[in-house]
């Protein structure tokens, strides 16, 4: 099993499959998280490739690749391969930093090291000294390989240059492994609340055994004009409660979550919010019934337009007609546009009442309505225990790769074998980042020096 994961082809194939999965996830529509409760309806709207009638797509989970069993298996196998590579490269770096090599450590150089055979027309004893001088002249440090007891072996050396930088390799592998572990930890123990669009004063019980409740105290745009966020910065003030007892207050902004014992409250957006109140011909407050006849009628109604909502209907139960509110989202720096229309029960045609970009009053048939246009935050609470591991892992991988880029380390295993009255020098190189030019240059230099000696 160890050999399987240590084989270069294994890791390369796993990385290739991951790359293919990433590309596929952008070409095949992926099920959004907000419809995961009822995916069949969403699937029915998709192209043939992912529709419920496509059994293969269903079986492979192509509509949710990141949650598919085969993708997770791929991540697990990649993690195992990275672990094996991290251990092997760390062992190699350890031996290189100690400079004490044994014949068994040659196995760490992989099954396909770069190799060269250099015949020299002199006896081994005569060329050993010259070989050492030549390597020292090229900036290499040489260490003799310890010979096994009772076994007569030919002289072996390991020549190294910048061997400390070999630690960059295990660092890169360990970093990637750490990032994968972080993703796994987050997937297993992490959770995320559905998006919450509170009015000021509303509360959300966080749940998941935390005992916390969050209350929205205020929402304010920071840079928008005329009270509209207008795509600028905005922030919410929240209070953390346990039961009814406040335990802390925080400001939540874009990219500035409020955290408490591992929980994070994030500001992920905002939505337009319309408040209606008014009086009739007699000066009595008008009753509003939002969202159909099942809801309770109130003297003031507060309507939040979700990101995909553009129309809301309010019933005026005592009057027997409906108010239609059409919202055109903000675009190009303009404020959202609210169109108010009246729909009488007995008539099919709408009667336009007003077009508003800001709060204002609307009068019709003796009624006087006040319309307040405002905004609500979209908040989300989540617990992501593996975040730090993921980012730290990628940073470690960057550092490891950068170390290898700045100055590649070089390791050459040299064996001098007697061949009657001549010798053959065997050279094995640990390749680095696909670069073998230095090895060719070293071989050429050794060939020249040893030929001169001969």
């Amino acid at each position: 099993m160890w050999r399987f994961f240590a084989a270069p082809a294994t890791l390369l194939i796993l990385l290739a499959l991951l790359a293919v999965a990433l590309v596929l996830s952008t070409l095949i529509p992926q099920i959004p998280s907000d419809v995961s409760a009822n995916p069949q309806y969403w699937l029915a709207l998709q192209p043939e490739l992912v529709s419920p009638t496509n059994d293969l797509a269903q079986a492979l989970g192509l509509y949710g690749i990141y949650n598919a069993f085969w993708f997770r298996l791929l991540l697990v196998l990649t993690g195992l391969a990275l672990f094996v590579w991290a251990v092997e490269s760390a062992e190699l770096a350890w031996w290189a930093s100690r400079g004490r090599w044994t014949p068994s450590t040659l196995a760490l150089w992989g099954s396909h090291p770069l190799r060269y055979r250099l015949p020299v027309s002199r006896a081994p004893a005569l060329i050993e000294g010259q070989l050492g001088e030549c390597l020292a002249g090229c900036g290499y440090q040489t260490a003799e390989v310890a010979r096994s007891h009772g076994i007569a072996t030919t002289p072996n050396w390991v020549a190294s240059r910048s061997s400390a930088l070999l630690w960059g390799r295990p660092l890169a592998f360990a970093g990637l492994l750490l990032a994968l572990l972080g993703l796994a930890v987050t997937a297993i123990w992490g959770w995320q609340s559905s998006q919450w669009q509170p009015a000021v004063g509303e509360r959300l019980a966080v749940g998941h055994g935390t005992g916390y409740t969050i209350r929205l105290d205020a929402f304010e745009p920071l840079t928008g004009g005329e009270g509209q966020p207008d795509g600028g910065q905005y922030q919410s003030q929240i209070t953390w409660l346990t039961g009814d007892q406040p335990v802390g207050q925080d400001l939540v902004g874009v990219g500035r979550p409020a955290t408490r014992t591992g929980l994070a409250a994030r500001q992920v957006g905002y939505v337009p919010d319309v408040t209606l109140r008014g009086v009739d011909q007699a000066g009595k407050p008008v009753l509003f019934q939002p969202g159909g006849v099942t809801s309770k009628a109130t003297e003031q109604v507060n309507l939040a337009f979700g990101s995909s909502e553009t129309q809301q209907v309010v019933v005026l139960p005592d009057q027997g007609f409906f108010l239609l509110l059409d919202l055109e989202p903000a675009s190009g720096g303009d404020d959202p546009l609210l169109r108010l229309a009246l729909l009488r029960s007995a008539e099919a045609e709408q009667q336009p009442l007003a077009v508003l970009r800001q709060s204002g009053a609307v009068s019709f048939d003796g009624f006087s309505l006040e319309v307040d246009l405002g905004y609500r935050p979209v908040l989300q609470v989540d617990y992501r225990p593996g975040t730090t591991l993921v980012v730290a892992g990628i940073v470690l991988a960057v550092v490891g790769l950068a170390l290898g880029w700045l100055a590649g380390s070089r390791l050459v295993w040299i064996a001098v074998a007697p061949d009657q009255d001549r010798a053959t020098v065997y050279l094995l190189a640990l390749g680095g980042a696909g670069e073998s030019g230095w090895f060719s240059r070293l071989v050429a230099q050794l060939q020249e020096e040893l030929t001169d000696v001969a």
């Binding site: 990433l22 874009v254 190009g332 989300q380 696909g434």
Partner: protein, 274 residues
């Protein structure tokens, strides 16, 4: 014509001239290649300056650098590719003059023409989550990394052309195989580092802002795939003697993924009806 269009047109002419000079250098054979080296590099350097000027003018016209403006991204990628090539070939003396320089000129010429003729300036306005400094840094790293993959891809393509044509017909000034591999590996590791840095910054920001490891931008997934393929190139050394062909082939794949990811994913999805 707008000032940035003039700068782009100048860059395109300089790149076309550089490609012609590099072709002449290749045809001159091993003995005559020397006299073409300096003019070729000078033309590429001048084109890089023209592209940087074009990028600055485009940014000034739009009043901000935006990774969501396809024209700015194409010009930035073209400029980054040339700067990386010059830094490696001249600054670090990695080698790779001649054929790879000609291929780099041609690819960057295509990117320049894409920025000049195929796309207009502007693009969708970034929302508040996309306007943070972290997003700017992320995409700067992505452009740099993609430039690295393009240089490595050109070196890989040069290796393939060299392997296919060397020894046939008249003697050309083929670059040394070791030099091409050196250029390929240096550019690919630079790309791997830059793309990983972009992914790290992007992941951190997505987590801060949205509580998820990604923002759902399909371009990021393509660039992550390009990063995985660059890692494959970097680690093909474990394949020993067989690594050269794999590295060359994979470097071309990584470059294709990076360029498509940066410039064409949205259109590709539209073409496929997604």
């Amino acid at each position: 014509m707008l000032p940035e269009a003039w700068a782009l047109a100048a860059a395109a002419l300089l790149l076309a001239a550089a490609a012609v000079v590099e072709a002449a250098a290749l045809a001159a054979g091993p003995k005559g290649v020397g006299r073409w080296r300096l003019p070729g590099l000078a033309l590429i350097a001048a084109a890089a300056v023209a592209l940087v000027v074009a990028l600055a003018l485009t940014v000034a016209a739009q009043q901000a650098w935006s990774p969501f403006d396809l024209q700015q991204t194409a010009i930035a990628l073209a400029a980054a590719t040339l700067v990386i090539y010059l830094a490696l070939a001249v600054g670090l003396r990695v080698g790779g003059e001649g054929l790879p320089a000609g291929l780099v000129s041609l690819v960057v010429l295509a990117l320049t023409l894409f920025g000049l003729l195929a796309v207009g300036s502007g693009g969708s306005a970034p929302d508040i989550l996309q306007r943070g400094l972290a997003v700017q840094v992320q995409w700067a790293c992505f452009v740099l990394g993609s430039g690295g993959t393009v240089v490595a891809g050109c070196a890989g393509l040069a290796l393939a052309v060299r392997a296919g044509l060397i020894g046939r017909g008249r003697e050309l000034a083929w670059p040394r195989r070791a030099d091409l591999h050196h250029l390929l590996s240096r550019a690919e590791v630079l790309a791997a580092v830059a793309l990983a840095a972009g992914l790290a910054v992007g992941t951190w920001w997505a987590w801060q802002a949205a509580g998820s490891p990604g923002t759902g931008d399909p371009r990021t997934a393509w660039l992550a795939a390009a990063w995985l393929v660059t890692l494959m190139v970097v680690w093909t050394y474990r394949l020993g003697e067989r690594s050269g062909r794999w590295a060359a082939g994979l470097s071309v794949v990584a470059a294709a993924l990076a360029v498509t990811g940066l410039l064409a994913v949205t259109d590709l999805r539209l073409v496929l009806g997604l």
